[in-house]
């Protein structure tokens, strides 16, 4: 089938999509956007989190056809040019990136959290990110990064 959707602000069409493919597969293998990661492909790890019409979802659980005509934001669309988004910069500054495989999904989920809640409390951060597994950091520096990003984004408003 042919799939047409808007990815990071650009309309994209791809042909010969097999109906069994996920949005994650299409992004990674057909659109050249491998930033969203494939750690479990069953909706448990959050590493493929993208925003679908503004809501965070696991791209591995979205059938390609469900994305028809919709708006998708991936980690590749978070920043323009060389400047980083404050969430990206905060993850770097806090040392929240080790292997980095969970990072794209966490960045998308974190930006959604801060956009919705401004300066979330620690329990709110933990609840919001409970679907994003990280195996390297023990999450402490991810907590630091989210707090830092929320502070910076609040200061920018």
């Amino acid at each position: 089938m042919r799939l047409t959707c808007t990815v990071n602000g650009t309309q994209q069409s791809v042909d010969d999509v097999w109906e069994g493919e996920s949005l994650l597969y299409v992004l990674r293998e057909r659109m050249g956007l491998p930033g969203s990661k494939n750690a479990c492909e069953q909706g448990e790890c959050g590493s493929c989190t993208v925003a679908l019409d503004g809501l965070p979802v696991c791209a591995c659980l979205v059938a390609a056809g469900q994305a028809e005509g919709r708006r998708i934001e991936t980690v590749e669309g978070m920043s323009e040019g060389t400047a980083l988004d404050p969430v990206q910069q905060s993850f770097l500054d806090a040392g929240a990136v080790q292997c980095g495989f969970c990072t794209p999904g966490l960045l998308v989920a974190t930006r959604d959290l801060i956009e919705r809640q401004g300066r979330p409390t620690d329990p709110e951060i933990r609840e919001a990110l409970a679907g994003n597994l990280c195996r390297c950091t023990g999450y402490e520096k991810i907590m630091d990064a989210v707090r830092l990003a929320a502070d910076r984004m609040a200061a920018d408003r």
């Binding site: 097999w18 069994g20 990674r28 293998e29 050249g32 956007l33 491998p34 930033g35 969203s36 990661k37 494939n38 750690a39 479990c40 492909e41 069953q42 448990e44 790890c45 590493s47 991936t74 980690v75 590749e76 978070m78 920043s79 980083l84 990206q88 910069q89 993850f91 770097l92 500054d93 040392g95 990136v97 080790q98 292997c99 980095g100 495989f101 969970c102 990072t103 794209p104 960045l107 329990p123 951060i125 933990r126 609840e127 990110l129 409970a130 679907g131 994003n132 597994l133 990280c134 195996r135 390297c136 950091t137 023990g138 999450y139 402490e140 520096k141 991810i142 907590m143």
Partner: protein, 793 residues
């Protein structure tokens, strides 16, 4: 040197920037910006226009003979380009890290569920998987051997929380899974009086379940056939050169025709030390003449790499009434599963360090590694020391209870210090601040008790709303551990570094080239920091990791900052010596205090400051150095005595837990950790290692276990194999000590593993303290708490 026709999308590039960050600074990762932009390419992101996808058919049985394989139905699937079996392996049919006993593809017999039997290459990953599933294998199913003691013909003990088979006396001949029998290694430690007596004796049996590394980036890579008949493999791995050796052997190709480049690695933790898809992708690429990508899904990943050895242990501790340890006897069984992997070295660690960081005059340890038909077990962070720490630290608590002593007091009374002898007769010749680690933990403030206003998120069970505090009891537990750093027992453990200093774009620039795998830990940052510090330049480029430079050894055993760090330092020193002598030729005389700093050659005594760009001109300086830590020795096979380990790392944890004693649910309230790192090369990364290691230890204590019944894995998914989430991990207090090891570069100590060893036993101790239960098995599951509690009533 073979050259691929083309380079895949996602092949690693040189890492430059960010500038700044000497040894001791919180330098930022050179791959950090790529990672937060989603532009860092992992093995699973590699891509080529005409690539094929590989898939693996695996055995559904833990033990069976293959009577026949029909490939026809797979070959009939449109889009399939190749289907291969063991007959298509041109070289050695078996490989292995320490013993070559594991088939590339099953030869006549399968010895574990998930053993690779056949391969498919097709133009879509689903086509490849579908075709693999259509291969018809005729199995004669055999009864699996699923217990290490049974496999060795030793009597089994009554295991906690498990029904065990009858005690058997199977002879090695009747049950043997490999020609040499089922014993992979038996390590003995014998010191002091063989028949000691003591005032107070505690004896207990312990069990540790099988843990998975659960790195997030799946096993993956891309093999590209080269014009000279060789292959270029881009792969996420831990040790390029040991992979290359095994791949060459299986493909019957010389190293010149098998070039490896490290693809982006999404975590490792030991699980990438053995081969997974490496040879398979190369076989398919060579057969089809096309690039072949393989990338496991999560279920396949659970079958595609080794796990942490489950262990069954019996410990007997004897002490005087005053609390001085008199003796320790231990019997330790590691279930190695179907193939050896690194079981011999795991047994080495388990046995030599199996009583913990304590001084004990009389020690008698037997540590066994056995073949069974369970999943193969090998390296995982903490490597043989994690399992024993659960037992020896529980024993210290049990002994303290029997003596009526404070558990920390008992530990401090018997703790190792610099100058102490280990049970293997090795005198500790660098700081061993075991007492200080424990005392500092004790001095840290305790987390507050839950307030009057209940926040469900702080309760065991969380927002499942299972308790508002009723039935909840708090417990505190301590544990301390030690672990060897780098490879031991006489292994020739070295790393190679090539450092080039030249003028690029008007700036003095260093390029560091090693084959040391960056798996997330931050070695690439450390390499830059060392080069900046030693060469006085800001711009340091990290060359992609590949086999065009000599081996760096494995990214394991907490060794890379020490060994590859040492090699980079040594190569920089060699470069520096050349640059300084060039500068002396330039000024026409010898200058005693000449050094490199701020991009210049400087002498304070003579007021010289010559810019490096002038000294270098257009002639780069390059040096390649092979660097070794001081040698270790093989241990005596009968007594275990010898200088086995080059360095030890020490860490201690305090865990505070709340337990819902009615439902058996555990909430870890806080983890505190103290660790001596000798010298923190990158303090932020050191703390990151401690936090991550703590999480993996906590996971093993309360939730992580690969459940294996009759040789079959019951939970190969992240739905059923649980790792800690951000809700499970509590805040941590961390104190990093820096007592230099005079034998190590910059005085540093390996960091990564120790905190993974002490955290779990502290959590288990805290649960015991909260519940008053024995809990001799980890992970502690809710039903262990509720069932034991019921039995106690």
């Amino acid at each position: 040197m073979s050259t691929p026709t083309r380079t895949p999308t996602g092949a690693p590039a040189h890492l430059t920037g960010p500038g700044g960050g000497q040894v001791g600074d919180d330098a930022q990762r050179p791959d950090g910006v790529l990672k937060v932009r989603g532009e860092f390419a992992y093995g699973s992101d590699l891509w080529m226009e005409d690539m094929l996808w590989g898939a693996t058919l695996r055995s559904p049985h833990p033990y069976a003979r293959i009577r026949g394989i029909d490939l026809g139905p797979a070959l009939a699937v449109p889009g399939v380009r190749a289907v291969l079996t063991a007959d298509d392996v041109p070289g050695e049919k078996v490989y292995g890290l320490e013993l070559a006993d594991q088939p590339v593809l099953a030869v006549d017999v399968v010895r574990y569920q998930g053993e690779p039997v056949a391969l498919v290459a097709a133009d879509h990953p689903e086509t490849a998987r579908l075709a693999a599933s259509r291969i018809v294998v005729d199995y004669e199913v055999w009864e699996p051997v699923t217990d290490a003691q049974t496999a060795l013909g030793h009597p089994t003990w009554n295991k906690v929380h498990e029904t065990t088979p009858e005690v058997t006396e199977l002879s090695r001949e009747s049950a043997h899974l490999h020609p040499e029998g089922n014993l992979v290694r038996h390590l003995k430690v014998r010191t002091g009086d063989p028949s000691p007596t003591a005032d107070v004796v505690v004896v207990n049996e312990y069990q540790v379940g099988m843990q998975d590394q659960a790195f997030l980036g799946p096993e993956s890579g891309l093999a590209v056939p080269t014009e000279d008949g060789g292959v270029e493999l881009y792969v996420a791995t831990q040790w390029l050169h040991v992979d290359q050796r095994q791949i060459c052997s299986a493909l019957a190709l010389p190293p010149e025709q098998v070039r490896l480049t490290l693809a982006g690695v999404g975590g490792a933790f030991g699980g990438r030390e053995d081969l997974s898809m490496h040879v398979h992708a190369c076989l398919l690429a060579l057969r089809t003449g096309r690039p072949v990508k393989m990338s496991y899904n999560r279920e396949e990943s659970f079958f595609g790499h080794v796990h942490r050895h489950p262990a069954t242990m019996r410990y007997e501790h004897g002490a005087t009434r005053d609390g001085d340890l008199v003796y320790v006897k231990a019997e330790i069984y590691f279930d190695g599963g179907a193939y050896a992997s690194s079981t011999p070295a795991v047994v080495g660690n388990g046995g030599t360090m199996g009583i913990g960081p304590y001084v004990v005059p009389n020690v008698h340890v037997d540590c066994y590694g056995a073949y069974t038909n369970n999943p193969p077990c090998g390296a995982m962070r903490g490597f043989g020391s994690v399992q024993t720490a659960f037992a020896y630290e529980a024993q210290m608590d049990a002994l303290a209870a029997a003596l009526g002593m404070d558990p920390v007091e008992l530990r401090c009374r018997n703790a190792m210090a610099e100058g102490s002898a280990t049970p293997t007769g090795q005198v500790i010749d660098s700081p061993a601040p075991v007492v200080e680690l424990l005392r500092r933990l004790e001095a840290m403030p305790m987390p507050g008790a839950p307030g009057d206003e209940v926040d469900l998120r702080d309760m065991p069970g969380g927002v499942s709303n299972t308790t508002h505090g009723e039935g909840v009891r708090r417990g505190v537990g301590y544990a301390v551990a030690y672990k060897n750093v780098a490879f031991s027992e006489g292994y020739d453990d070295y790393s190679t570094a090539r450092v080039r200093l030249e003028v690029v774009g008007g700036e003095p620039t260093a390029t560091v080239h090693t084959a040391a795998a960056e798996v997330g830990q931050g070695l690439v940052t450390v390499e830059q920091q060392i080069a900046r510090t030693e060469l006085g330049v800001d711009q340091v480029t990290v060359h992609p990791k590949d086999t065009t430079v000599g081996s760096a050894g494995s990214t394991s055993a907490s060794r890379q900052t020490y060994v590859t760090g040492g090699a980079v330092k040594a190569a920089c020193e060699a470069v520096r010596a050349q640059v300084l002598s060039r500068a002396e030729r330039l000024v026409g005389r010898s200058v005693p205090d000449l050094r490199l700093t701020g991009g210049a050659v400087v002498s304070d005594l003579e007021g010289i400051a010559v810019p490096l760009v002038d000294v270098l001109g257009d002639e780069p300086v390059e040096e390649t150095v092979e660097w070794r830590h001081r040698p270790t020795e093989a241990i005596d096979p009968e007594t275990g005595q010898g200088f086995a380990h080059v360095q030890y790392a020490f860490s201690a944890h305090r865990a505070v837990v709340d337990v819902d004693t009615e439902l058996g649910l555990v909430k870890v309230v806080e983890m505190a950790c103290t660790q001596d790192v000798g010298k923190a090369i990158n303090p932020q990364a050191v703390v990151g290692q401690i936090q991550g290691g703590t999480a993996q230890g906590l996971g093993l204590a309360v939730m992580e276990e690969v459940l294996v019944t009759d040789g079959l894995v019951r939970n190969p998914s992240f739905t059923d194999y649980l790792i800690p989430t951000i809700l499970d991990m509590p805040p941590m207090r961390i104190e990093v000590l820096e007592y230099a090891d005079p034998h190590a570069p910059y005085g540093l100590r390996g960091v990564g593993e120790a905190p993974n060893i002490s955290s779990g036993p502290a959590v288990a101790a805290a649960i015991r303290a909260a519940t008053g239960l024995a809990l001799r098995r980890v992970p502690v599951r809710p039903e262990h708490i509720t069932v034991e509690a019921t039995a106690d009533r």
